[in-house]
């Protein structure tokens, strides 16, 4: 988090993390398409010719002034493919909050677990304590037929009752804003903001 005292801006970095093709970029695209263009910057995507995220997607969204401060949210996705592990670590650096986008399909469970472990390993290497960074899990693709029950997913990922989770269909919108709003709320709650 960075408060620019001269410009009276509150800057937060939120990172969407998760397995490949889980819906991280789709979350950002949905927000970008629906949010007021006046409050939303360009969606920048560094992707391969096969349309997969190569380095990251990025967009900035801002709100109106609150107590003299303009909140600005810098939203990033990481590339999901296993071999882009180094890139994921770079993007996680300095994150104020993380949204883990899990793919609810049965055959993606191992990919979810691998990505989840990979995320904690990177946080450890970056000396970022998971206890100090809000992590919200989003179970995406709830509209598909071969999905696992949320209870089973939570148990597999060892999420306790306190861990905030949302079901979503990112391509259509349900769960997208709710996840982001919860994450921002938790980040603000943990940060001490003196206006």
């Amino acid at each position: 988090m960075f408060i620019n005292p001269k410009r009276r801006e509150l800057n937060l970095k939120i990172v969407y993390y998760g397995p490949a093709r889980g819906g991280k970029t789709t979350n950002l695209q949905y927000i970008h398409n629906r949010a007021d263009p006046k409050l939303c910057g360009d969606l920048v995507s560094l992707k391969t010719h096969e349309d997969r995220t190569l380095f990251f997607d990025y967009m900035q969204m801002e709100l109106g002034k609150i107590k003299g401060l303009t909140p600005k949210f810098n939203l990033y996705t990481v590339p999901g493919q296993v071999y882009y592990s180094a890139s994921r670590k770079l993007i996680l650096k300095g994150a104020d909050g993380i949204i883990f986008v899990a793919d609810s399909q049965q055959d993606r469970l191992q990919a979810n677990l691998r990505a989840y472990r990979d995320m904690f390993q990177h946080l450890k290497e970056l000396r970022m304590s998971p206890k100090k960074i809000p992590i919200v899990v989003q179970f995406n693709k709830r509209d598909l037929p071969n999905i696992m029950p949320v209870k089973t997913l939570r148990a597999a990922m060892r999420l306790n009752g306190q861990s905030p989770c949302f079901e979503s269909i990112a391509i259509e919108g349900p769960g997208v804003y709710e996840t982001l709003k919860m994450t921002i709320g938790l980040v603000i709650k943990r940060a001490k903001i003196a206006t």
Binding site: K13, K93, K181, T195
Partner: protein, 159 residues
């Protein structure tokens, strides 16, 4: 982030960037955190591009430093992008900050590097002051801010 920049720090930063801008006849200079968050700039950059430029250059520099580490290069790597009319020079100020300078190809790189020496020294000093200020000041939590922000988000998302 371990820096706590006050208005006084921001004014010092603006002064340093201003000197760099004029001494190198730069098109633009920009200071950002290494996690991609914009801090300050001087010159011909559109307001709406500042955040994206900060995010992209921070990622680019991070990737370059990682490449340096993998090939066993210990010295600080810098990124120089040479265009037809302008070049973009990106370098780490310290572990927290990065500096970007966009300058005309008619200006020798040697001159830019020479001016940068003093710029980097001054920015590192400001960062050191800001770090000690961060250790001393512990701001109080503002619950009302969190509540107002939640309301604003509800309006934005129309929930």
């Amino acid at each position: 982030m371990s820096l706590y920049l006050t208005i006084a720090h921001m004014e010092q930063i603006e002064e340093v960037l201003d000197t760099l801008f004029w001494d190198t006849e730069a098109k633009a200079v920009l200071l950002a955190y290494d996690n991609g968050q914009f801090i300050s700039h001087k010159g011909e950059l559109a307001e709406r591009d500042l955040a994206v430029l900060s995010a992209l250059t921070a990622a680019q520099l991070s990737a370059t430093l990682e490449v340096a580490r993998l090939v066993g290069e210990r010295s600080r790597f810098q990124v120089l992008q040479e265009g037809v009319n302008h070049s973009v020079y990106t370098l780490a100020v310290n572990e927290d900050l990065l500096l970007v300078i966009v300058f005309s190809n008619q200006i020798p790189l040697g001159l830019v590097r020479m001016v940068l020496r003093q710029t980097l020294e001054q920015l590192r000093q400001i960062a050191a002051d800001a770090r000690s200020a961060a250790d001393e000041d512990e701001p109080e939590e503002d619950d009302e801010f969190a509540r107002l922000l939640a309301d604003e988000l509800d309006d934005l998302f129309d929930m």
